[in-house]
Subunit: 217 residues, 2 copies
Amino acid sequence: MDRGSTVAEALLARRTIHQFDPDRPIEPGSLVRILELATRAPSDFNLQPWRFLVVRDRKDRQKVGRCVLGPAAWAEAPVVVIVLGYLHPHQTHLEAIVDEMVRRGSLHHEAALAVKGRAASTMAREANPESWAGRSCMLAAAWLVLAAEGLGVQSALVERFESAPLRQAFGIPDDHAIGCLVGLGHALETPPFPGRLPLDAVCFSDHFGQPFMPNQI
Amino acid sequence: MDRGSTVAEALLARRTIHQFDPDRPIEPGSLVRILELATRAPSDFNLQPWRFLVVRDRKDRQKVGRCVLGPAAWAEAPVVVIVLGYLHPHQTHLEAIVDEMVRRGSLHHEAALAVKGRAASTMAREANPESWAGRSCMLAAAWLVLAAEGLGVQSALVERFESAPLRQAFGIPDDHAIGCLVGLGHALETPPFPGRLPLDAVCFSDHFGQPFMPNQI
């Protein structure tokens, strides 16, 4: 049995796909597996604010494509996921989440009430829930892309789109931030690696601006 | 040779670690490999706005710990990375990035000028660069955490901290958003899985609020 790629292999092989094979769908079992693995992303208080709006109907995918700023051929992917970030999970899901943590031995039952209170009050004081939810659902999008890659499904993560028509077309309410769009499918061709800045251009040691020294501990 | 975990294994095994073994450092070669893999994250126009401020000095890690809202034992991890998002990479790094894309055959040289122009003008019109950079560096943080997990290094991704004292302590300028903190090391103990909401609580099919139907294409 194919065990799937290692993490390093998947991270090195992944490309943002521009053209997907319209004749190669994703098996429903694979799609469920990918979504389940995506929910393994970590989140603040385990609040899991990500929501996955899975778009498979061709007309609906074309609607997504029309909301994209830039080339939209990727929206021909057999599956397009609109990754959302729910702003108020502490108001609706906190009980269920904490109870499950207690049931799994991840939290002592005597601590449950205090954790619920702390999560609720911290979230109520959150200065920018839109930004909180937006950042969190990017983690889930990352998990989604890498879960797919590990199972042999390629992707395109798209960060630039028009929110208002997307909200209207798919009924996305204002209490959900739209984080990004992810096309999933099989690449028609694998684009070349576009390169990255050298490590010393993006890493610092101990203080901002200080050169990165790998060997210094 | 150990090939490392598969992606699915890594996603299932990963936990947010509360206590790291202070006596087990990360090999410098491993740390470099993890950071290099983290830079493989995708970004808008390949602008790579993530920056990794790698904190290894114990006193400096304690400073990070004091800026955290909530338990801070994870900051005893041998390596703490402050993941930043640079707001203006199009003003300083776009030339080098696009030239490298041309050199690697990822972009035709005749298209280079147009791409530079489009990236620069799109970024100049960006309504919320702080949020753009913040979302993007969460992708890099996700890549960082999963690259580490794949190479047998555990992590804690922390989203809640006080920005002002962190900026002051580490000289982080205002044109860099602070996305999150990531502790890297070897777990003293692996916490139990805290559970997740069921898939049908976080997935929709084709329209917001519509139940997720795995088998419907």
